[in-house]
Amino acid sequence: MRVHLGCRSVRRKRAAVLKARYSGKPEQIYRNRFCFSCNSWIVKGAAMFETAIQTFTSPVVLFFVLGLLAAFARSDLAIPEAIAKAMSLYLMAAIGIKGGVAVAKSGIDATVISALGAGILAGFLLPFFAYAVLKTFGKLDRINSGAVAAHYGSISVVTFVTAVEILTGQAREPGGYMVAVMAAMEAPAILSGLLLARGLGSKDEGSQSTGEMFHEVFTNSSIVLLLGAFAIGMIGGPDGFAPVSPFFEAGFKGVLCIFLLDMGLIAARRMMDARAITWRLTSIAIFLPLVNGVFGTALGVGIGLDAGSAAALGVLCASASYIAVPAAMRLALPEADPGIYLTMSLSITFPFNVLINIGIISAFAVYLTGSGGVVP
């Protein structure tokens, strides 16, 4: 039982996966592979390791790394703000419409409902665990612990999209309904985080801000576009999608590359400017996505999702918001320090998830569901 990383069969297999992806029968590829060059069966552990390593061959991830490196080299490379905004709107519209079309095809069944329920529940509960860790090990005060906890309970759309790309590249595309799960997981953690930060009693003048904040959370451009495009996808179905698919589908991966390039630049620049981050907080920003990712994946497998969808749920739990929640916290908890919550979620957790954790989670999902091929 040897690990076949270096052997040529790995490359061959990747080509096979790619071929299968484009010819549409991805299922049996990972099962029972025999390596002819070293004359032995490729084992579960090797498959997991490979799965984790594949991440780095994706151009999407390579562009992210390029962004990180360019910023560390103090290059003046920058994507104009209007373009970054437009790319983010494009990605929202594209994943919304694709998810909607997928659900229009598959219909809404018990799996979808339970995935939604699991996601919302996780969104509510994860901040409590995060809060405990931040307060004790992280040595943050109540306000900041609550604010950071809200970020880790909520989700990062770009992490999710990157994971979907990588999982699809492994022939494990998550179900289209996971887009709806993602949308549903955006807000609950904000409630928990506020509760933790403010305590139950003290509602000092917060009421106005809180109402304003929830209006903002539910009408912020990402959510509106995501859900609106989802609805359009459901109404139009595959037929309605056909004429716009060249725009929303063909460009998707390329736009994601450039967007991740920009995220790499932003994340690295913020890291270099960071002042308020201790080694304790850095550790937590890596520990939480690991634990939450494992939890979410197990939850997904537990409620009966396929490997891809379970991994996607794991990634949602592992990811930390750096758009919706910071905006909400700035309104509702102005005393909390953006230097802490943005740096943790954007500059540590986000790169960790994209570069390493998606691979780990996907390998874990393969392990749990046994869809990665086992020695007979």
Binding site: E81, R269, D273, R275, A327, R330, L331, P338, G339, L342
Partner: protein, 102 residues
């Protein structure tokens, strides 16, 4: 010679997200209008920021011209927000034409 009158020009650097609160305060004290000037980056006690619309942490400059009494009322109104959110307000005398507008 054209005649000019003295008015206060007030500029407030505020979070884009909270722009509406500032302009609501301007409307409330009865000033006739305001104009938004974009800003792209900056540095303060909390470190540097750049165009971060993607993260909702960007800022704008709200500019308004008003008679002195209204200007002072506005400053009074905004003072708590300035402290709470770290906005910056500066004002100075300017000459304007058609003073009845302000």
């Amino acid at each position: 010679m054209i005649e000019t009158v003295i008015r206060k020009r007030i500029e407030i650097l505020a979070d884009t997200q909270l722009q509406k609160r500032v302009t609501a305060a301007i409307d409330k004290v009865g000033i006739t209008g305001w104009t938004i000037v974009p800003v792209t980056s900056g540095k303060g006690r909390e470190g540097p920021w750049r165009e971060e619309r993607v993260m909702g942490t960007d800022k704008v400059l709200v500019l308004t011209i008003a008679a002195e009494d209204k200007a002072m009322a506005l400053a009074e109104d905004l003072a708590p927000m300035l402290t709470k959110y770290g906005f910056i307000l500066s004002m100075w005398d300017v000459q304007v034409i058609r003073g009845e507008r302000f």
